[in-house]
Amino acid sequence: MRIDSRAAFDAAVQAAKEKVTGRKRQVFVCCGTGCLANGSAAVAEAFAQQIAEKGLDVSLGLFLKRTGCHGFCQRGPLVVVQPEGVLYTRVRPLDVTEILDQTVANGHCVERLVYRDPSTKAPVPKYADIPFYANQTRVAMRNIGKVDPADIEDSLANGAYAGLVRALNDLSPDEVIAEVERAGLRGRGGAGFPTARKWRATAMAKGERKFVICNGDEGDPGAFKDRSILEGDPHSVIEGMVIGAYAVGAHEGFVYVRDEYPLAVVHLGVAIAQAREWGLLGKNILGTGFDFDIKVSRGGGAFVCGESSALMRSLEGKVGEPRAKYVHASERGLYDCPTVLNNVETWSDVSAILARGGDWFARWGTEKSKGTKAFSLVGKVKNTGLIELPMGMTLRRIIFDIGGGILKDRPFKAVQTGGPSGGCLPESCLDLPVDYEQLTAAGSMMGSGGMIVMDDRTCMVDVARYFLRFLVEESCGKCVPCREGLRQMLAIYDRILEGRGRPDDIGRIERLARGMKLGSLCELGKSAPNPVLSTLRYFRDEYVAHIERGECPAGMCRALTRYEIITEKCTGCHLCTRACPTGAIVGKPKQKHAIDQGKCISCGACYDVCRDDAIRFGGRGRPEVAAAAQ
């Protein structure tokens, strides 16, 4: 079914809508990577089987739809029943019959499967009422969880490609760029470079062969919004890229997808094939004579390829080594031709902006950072998952209102944003509105939207080392400050966390961090010191504790921490004995327990399960001090 004119497009959308309205009742089963891991495939299978057996699709007009990731993965497998709008969490195949009989057949809600508010424990059946979703404003993720990624008609019925039709038929390339400029859209990859300015530079660059690239590398640990968009609504990205190509005059496009996202590659491939089939991609798009095609390129497994020039080397089949960007990619990018490279979320926003207009997008956000931003809220927070919010919302509201507060109500300590190039922000920054300028000023970065919440049981010096170890593994090794600097910085941290820190270590770290920030060739090296510098800026006392007193305030550094049971408080509940991996806790149930220091590896599992605060930890002191004490 090929659309080769505006009229044909409208007819196709109409037909798609009728198909949907025919479905009086719908069951949405989330088939994103998260829910699949929890067994949602079996749940979908059970639904399909029982619907067929009972002939419900005929009698009730029931339609089963496999959708992309709703973003609430921790509570998966997720099932939504429409038109009631009820969300069921942790659904297992044997619950299917009950859902069909109760909710689908006669609209009753299955109490035990409904989401319960973590603090008040009250059931919240309606999808829209759950705070996790209520406070969100979804633009880039507008169709995720609503459309079946493998069915283009479903996307068409939900407004897909409307922006493209408007762009190709009503607007000139400059007007398209002006629309994006009016929206105030900035790059969602992390740096926040104004998208319109980037497009305009590429449009004006000389060269008849130009490229459009979607950066789906998303190497930041703790970030998975790009995965969810690519898996859940690939058409929004495809549409955005065609619009971008039209604006800058490019005819070849690439989507670079991470090696760790196999499902995204599959869904994207299906969507591209369907888009070509329907005349929305490839030759003579929508009959307007504009040609543009997209190839999917699977990454090789290298975080550095998230950096634009390294990504282009990878697309050229080369090693992912960045090049100095003294000449911008908009003039000499892929194969030294003018190239536009934007993040997955940016492309998805573009398609919404062209459909609804720049002013509609610019209503949200702050003065300089317009629109909405998707975050992956993870770590020690009750509601972990994908959220999309207007720019300018405060960290406190995100973590406590939407995130439902800290796990097990432990005290909040820090939130890490921007991944390995970002920083850790303490309690004092909780009232910061989240946008590019504020986060950078506070010493962190917007980055790709990873937001990792940490409680008092997280050692900030260990977090800084975690990022250093990550970067040592992911550095491409080309330039000296990054390759050698990261190795030496990690060596200093290893020393500190074993209690062998030296007084001048902090000075040496700061000097090396400055050398890397100014000397490195690409953003990976230049931003590598950010986690170090931000933890030094806000949690300097923890460094001093480790170096001078050989003590870890969070009790996580094994070499420095000693666990003991406070005998008077111990109730003999035996929980800790079961949790201990090395059997280091001695004592029968109902009796006082004690820790055998010889076997104890200070992993802290006992401390986490003990409900009576009968276990405490303290610093072992610096090795030479501890040795003298023995």
């Binding site: 998975f224 090696d259 089949g317 090693v319 972990t384 990873g450």
Partner: protein, 160 residues
């Protein structure tokens, strides 16, 4: 000698026929070879260099740069423990140590009977279900140290 020949290049020829003879296809070809042979055989790398007209040294450089490729055969089942930030602060380190204890191998190594390979990966995008362990194609979320033995299950000749 680093790497191992596989002496059966028929599947490789099929892969090469699917791609144009240009350097840009190199990483996609190596991905397919890795999937077909479960590693990059040395003679396959030489054939790919010839097939795509790319110097052998450059193909070898790409084969050792990207983490998706290995030059030695991996175990039948690949166990990946995610060390992303969310998984790290939910105790992924202990999981890696538990697998090391149970299967007797370090990250990057394969059990002597070639049944299981342990690898760490820096985030697979399932952070909401941290900590995550992937056994073969099956994702496991919210894994505790005690679950490791059950998750690995029959995959490995587990050290009792």
């Amino acid at each position: 000698m680093i790497g191992q020949p596989c002496n059966d290049l028929r599947p490789l020829q099929e892969i090469l026929d699917r791609y144009p003879r240009e350097e840009a296809a190199l990483i996609q070809v190596l991905q397919d070879v890795q999937r077909a042979y479960n590693y990059l055989p040395s003679d396959a790398i030489e054939k790919v260099a010839e097939g795509l007209g790319v110097p052998l040294a450059r193909v070898y450089s790409v084969a050792t740069f990207y983490k998706a490729f290995t030059l030695t055969p991996r175990g039948k089942t690949l166990v990946k423990v995610c060390l992303g930030t969310a998984c790290h602060i939910r105790g992924a380190k202990q999981l890696v140590e538990e697998v090391e204890r149970v299967a007797g191998i370090k990250p990057g190594e394969t059990t002597p009977d070639r049944s299981l390979t342990l690898e760490t990966v820096n985030c697979v995008g399932a952070c909401a279900m941290a900590p995550v362990v992937i056994v073969g194609a099956k994702y496991h979320g919210g894994v505790k140290t005690a679950d490791i033995r059950t998750i690995l299950g029959s995959a490995a000749s587990l050290a009792k």
